[in-house]
């Protein structure tokens, strides 16, 4: 009877799949491979996504502009809020920088302190003690190969936690912070290379960020 035969085949296939799957899983657990020496790739491209208790995301974009021009833009982060879509405001007071971020689940602020300031090379901000989240963000500038401009590398490391922060971290994961960060870097690139940010809208937006 064709129908029973199909059933038998299905059962056999499922059993086979489970057996093979379990075997592979057991093999992976019982016989871990030898520890590999590190390669040349940046850590955030590793197959693992956690570094100790931190999660890491970051991107690199090459911008045809001198390092000093890009550095000035980051050194005065209020200018970033003019075009970065997730950044609604930045308040600067000395070394203290408060980033007001429009996340998909609402607006929140992260208080940070400038912890690294190497002219035309690197800037880093770390959340202050008692902030809602434990996070560090860093921007590094390098001359590109073949004179193509400046490689701008931005990355963020944060410690997922409970409460509102955990919620934010979960949101970040869902929204892929690496991707969102890359999009913001590309907007920066467009602005510096062409003086505007490309849009296919046929009319200016009434609200939002106009240049």
């Amino acid at each position: 009877m064709p129908r029973r035969r199909t059933d038998h085949l299905t059962v056999a296939a499922v059993v086979l799949a489970l057996t093979v799957g379990a075997g592979l899983a057991a093999g992976a657990i019982l016989r871990p491979g030898p520890r590999r020496p590190p390669d040349s790739a940046p850590g955030r491209t590793a197959r693992r996504s956690r570094f100790g208790s931190y999660q890491v995301a970051g991107r690199t974009v090459t911008i045809k502009a001198p390092r000093s021009r890009i550095f000035q833009m980051w050194r005065d982060p209020q200018r970033l809020a003019d075009f970065m879509q997730d950044l609604s405001d930045v308040q600067v007071s000395g070394d203290q920088v408060t980033w007001v971020i429009d996340g998909p689940s609402g607006r929140f602020a992260v208080e940070t302190r400038l912890v690294e300031d190497r002219e035309n090379e690197a800037l880093a901000w770390r959340s202050v003690d008692g902030a809602d989240i434990d996070i560090e963000a860093k921007v590094q500038l390098r001359d590109s190969t073949a004179g193509r401009g400046t490689e701008v590398e931005a990355h963020v490391a944060w410690r997922p936690a409970a409460g509102i922060v955990g919620q934010w971290a979960a949101t970040l994961r869902g929204a892929d912070p690496g991707m969102r960060g890359k999009q913001e870097l590309k907007r920066l690139k467009m602005l510096l290379e062409t003086g505007e940010i490309a849009t296919s809208d046929n009319r200016p937006k009434d609200s939002g960020k106009a240049l």
Binding site: K64, E193, T194, G195, I197, A198, N202
Partner: protein, 395 residues
């Protein structure tokens, strides 16, 4: 304004939509005086290119008069311009290399993810095409917002009719780049699959670049006639074994270069093509690559393969072995239109290139849906449709 909008497979309509406005400093607004339906619009009409949304304005071959300029535009009100279908910033690494269709800065950031996933990298913005290339409203409309108007549009001297220069927007440079990509040497034999507008312009360009013999392959008698008129020999694949014929017509060597001006919707009843057609119908992103497979088998050892035909997804049964074992070179890509417009305009003005021979029908924009239906369904007679905005229906 009035515009031709896409609503799904084989469903295009002329709707009234809001007029465009200046958005960015380098923008200009063009009042369209002539626009054409392109073979690649038929890929959209057939819904085989991903990333189109209902209501999108189609059209990427257009020209017109400048009616408004942003503060950083270099155009002047009243300038007559042809607008390249590729939107390019002119400043990024790729634009400065002349690779305008690879522009980094014209495809809006939020639209880049899909093509990055599918192709590894996002390409430039294009007018009237997929949202993977920006979803920019197209030129089959009364007005178009043209970004980076200081880079793309080429100003046309008064007194030159629209029809002589309209095709600088896409198909003429596309045919020219196809021939350039075939790296033609004096005395070469070049085989061209597809005698649509791009194929015909590729034939014309190949002869200008020094090909001694061009062999055109199609199955529409009228299109083969047009190819013959340009000086090509022709093969009708409905009555001739193409591979055998190409070998016999080249002394058993094979063409030195081959040009696939067919792309992803190959015609014909070869078994591989029928399987591809089925897969395309059920929507698993397969391109019908029959013409390209034939071209790879036909081209001589160490020969050159140029692909102006549009592909968007994946192909299987691809003769990778022929490519490697015969040591072939492939060059392809969306056209770097801005790289060619100046030179080709000069050749038109000098009378060296005629572009009007392939226009078969002239319609009002209001009749654009009829144009699509016939350009799609009656390819033998309907070789190229030029639309005029503002004219009454039926004119």
């Amino acid at each position: 304004m009035r515009a031709l909008t896409w609503h799904g497979k084989h469903d295009v309509r002329v709707d009234t939509v809001p007029d465009p406005q200046i958005v960015n400093p380098r923008d200009a607004i063009i009042e369209v005086t002539a626009t054409a339906i392109c073979g690649s619009d038929l890929h959209l009409y057939d819904a085989v290119i991903p990333g189109l949304l209902p209501g999108d304005i189609l059209g990427h071959e257009f020209m017109g008069r400048v009616v408004e300029t942003g503060p950083k535009s270099t155009l002047k009100k009243g300038d007559r311009v042809v607008v390249p279908f590729t939107i390019s910033c002119g400043a990024c690494f790729f634009c400065t290399q002349g690779q305008f269709s690879a522009c980094d800065n014209s495809n809006p950031v939020e639209k880049q993810e899909a093509s990055e996933l599918m192709y590894g990298h996002p390409m430039s913005g294009l007018f009237g095409y997929s949202h993977m290339t920006g979803g920019y409203p197209g030129g089959q409309a009364d007005y178009v917002r043209v970004p980076f108007s200081d880079v793309g549009p080429i100003v046309i001297p008064d007194g030159v009719p629209d029809e002589q220069v309209l095709f600088l927007s896409d198909i003429l440079p596309t045919g020219w780049m196809a021939a350039e990509n075939a790296d033609i040497q004096d005395g070469d034999t070049v085989a061209v699959w597809g005698c649509g507008p791009v194929g015909l312009f590729a034939i014309q360009s190949a002869l200008l670049m020094g090909a001694e013999q061009v062999i055109a392959i199609d199955h529409y008698p009228h299109r083969l006639d047009l190819a013959r008129g340009l000086g090509a020999k022709v093969i009708d694949f409905k009555q001739t074994h193409v591979l055998e014929a190409l070998m016999e017509m080249t002394g058993g060597i094979g063409p030195d270069a081959v040009i696939d001006a067919v792309g992803m919707e190959s015609h014909g009843f070869a078994p591989d093509n029928l399987m591809d057609a089925l897969k395309q119908k059920v929507g698993i992103g397969a391109d019908r690559a029959h013409a390209l497979r034939m071209a790879l088998l036909a081209v001589r050892k160490g020969g050159r393969v140029s692909i102006p035909g549009v592909y968007g997804g994946l192909a299987d049964k691809f003769p990778l072995g022929a490519l490697m074992e015969k040591g072939l070179q492939i060059r392809t890509g969306q056209t770097h239109v801005q790289k060619y417009t100046r030179e080709l305009l000069d050749r038109i003005l000098e009378g060296e290139i005629d572009t009007t021979f392939l226009i078969s029908h002239r319609l009002s924009l209001e009749d654009a849906p009829t144009g699509y239906r016939n350009f799609h369904g009656k390819q033998d007679e309907w070789t190229k449709v030029v639309l005029t905005p503002g004219a009454a229906k039926g004119v």
